[in-house]
Amino acid sequence: MFLLAALFPLLPGVEGWMVSQVSLIIIYIIAAQGVALLVGYTGLVTVGHGGFLAIGAYTSALLTKHLGVDLSLGLIASGIVAGLIGYALGFVFLHLSGAFMAIGTLGFSFFVGAIINNVPIFEGRTGISLPANHVFGMKIGDFGFYFVAIVSLALTTVLIYALVRSGVGRAFMALRDSEKAAESCGINRVFYRTLAFSISAAITGIAGALNGHITNYISSEVYADIWYSVDFLVACVVGGSAMLMGPFIGGAFIVMVPFFFEKLADLAFILKGVVLIAVLLLAPAGVADLLARPIRAWRRRQLAAAKAASSPQPMMTRPSTGGR
């Protein structure tokens, strides 16, 4: 799938701006993946991931501008820095949950905003202009950047796919559903909660670095705002936060709505709100879940058919109410 997507810029008639637009979608998808890991799988609501986006963006920006670091290293460094700060934040918010967690993380994004607005090295509202993007020493344009983005997305997707199916993913979901029961299974709440925070922040941090390099310019005017945080959360909720495809749908939705309503920016806002409410009412688990329902029903029928075929006795020989 990612290979097919990587061929997209080679299609005839595709122009630089289209490629950039798709790159932007990819960035939003990655950021939303980070948020979804926390919201959907670990059950911690975050309205502060704009802060991690900013941390990632500024880490890579400062490294590439002042030290002339390669974009690939910049991405890795932003993931690490955001991950470490996420780890620390996980400790600070260890005892928060639900709405309190939302407010706490919101506070964190304001905190990051205040820092990038006021600490001189971040150049506040003047912003930082970045040098042209270099990957492995080669200068890249819109098309090259697209490949960097799609490779990053492929890596984060594989990571999340593996993670949520592993024992660690099970521990995240156990903590989400019942902390007491999870602890009775030997799951270390402190460790796994901070780990979830850390990985989530690292993924969104990488998206932040990409987001800075796509325009080669970052300033606190954009990154100190809370709209990123809100957008990512909306992307998760609309797409479906506990499913692999959720951030893909949500990320594309968040980027494409303002794109289609370029001249009517207010309408785009309204539309986002309307869709969010509609999704919450009609498909609380997200659009991805809505799309997956018929597939799941089909698979269940297949399973039932296979079961019936393998056992000659009728299914009712063992009542499901227990007893033998």
Binding site: S166, S178, A181, E183, S184, C185, G186, L195
Partner: protein, 256 residues
């Protein structure tokens, strides 16, 4: 005498209420030990202290001779102590299989290797999956592996919870009212399962229970507490004929 889990003078207070007042308890290896007492005697509080869900003011709890006073609830699972809850605490939105797999958590090895599906972690995951299905078969819930737990009947949920505790490969398992709210058929089932776990797997079992027929038929040794203190202890026959226990809890009908 090899004692597995031992309580010495455990005292627990909730404000002015003394829930446990210097309770002593000795759980021997390979035995089925019961804890009974009237409502409010402090049974569940003591049970929670044993599984470290409840802190205690004074006294000590030892596991294989080592103090677990400073351990957290998730740490004692790693020692081999698993528990169930009185009011089932399962992951309702997840399947039976997922629930049992969560129980295998202490066997996942290095979490980072596990998370990245490194080769040896992959083998381990396969082992855990096999373990989970074997346990499901042992408890006769193998047909419900793909069912969401919240859709299962109560008696089956009780067994899923037991399966989840067993999945951790414990040496001792603490059961908090394993048959509360179960019908006669389910009670017969649980009794047989408890016996088998003890005989075939060599598990030490500690259970808090109000159902006297279960307690009297499965336990090797019984502790009775009343108002937070030890009232009596002994074999089922001794307990049945203990006048203090009859007066405080059992009533005349259990006296032969």
């Amino acid at each position: 005498m090899a004692s597995y889990l031992r309580c010495e003078n455990v005292t627990i207070r909730f404000g002015g209420v003394v829930a446990c007042d210097g309770v002593n308890l000795d759980i021997e290896e390979g035995k089925i030990i019961g804890l009974i007492g009237p409502n409010g005697a402090g049974k569940t509080t003591l049970f929670n202290a044993l599984s470290r869900f409840q802190s205690y003011e004074s006294g000590s709890i030892f596991y294989r001779g080592a103090s677990i006073d400073r351990m957290k609830s998730h740490e004692i699972v790693k020692l081999g102590v698993a528990r169930t809850f009185q009011n089932i605490r399962l992951f309702g939105e997840q399947t039976t299989l997922a629930n049992i797999l969560i129980g295998t958590h202490r066997l996942i090895g290095n979490p980072i290797a596990n998370m990245l599906w490194l080769p040896w972690a992959r083998d381990n995951e396969r082992r855990l999956l096999r373990r989970a299905t074997e346990i499901a078969e042992m408890l006769h819930i193998e047909n419900e592996l793909d069912t969401l737990v919240k859709n299962l009947p109560y008696g089956v949920q009780k067994r899923v919870e037991l399966a989840r505790a067993l999945a951790a490969d414990p040496e001792i398992i603490l059961l908090d009212e394993p048959v509360a709210g179960c019908n006669d058929e389910e009670i017969t089932d649980i009794r047989e399962i408890v016996h088998r776990l003890n005989r075939e797997l060599g598990l030490t079992i500690f259970l808090v229970e109000h159902n006297m027929s279960l307690v009297m038929s499965v336990c090797d040794y019984i502790y009775v507490i009343n108002f937070g203190s030890n009232l009596a202890e002994g074999t089922p026959d001794e307990i049945r004929n203990n006048s203090a226990v009859i007066g405080a809890y059992l009533g005349e009908e259990y006296h032969r």
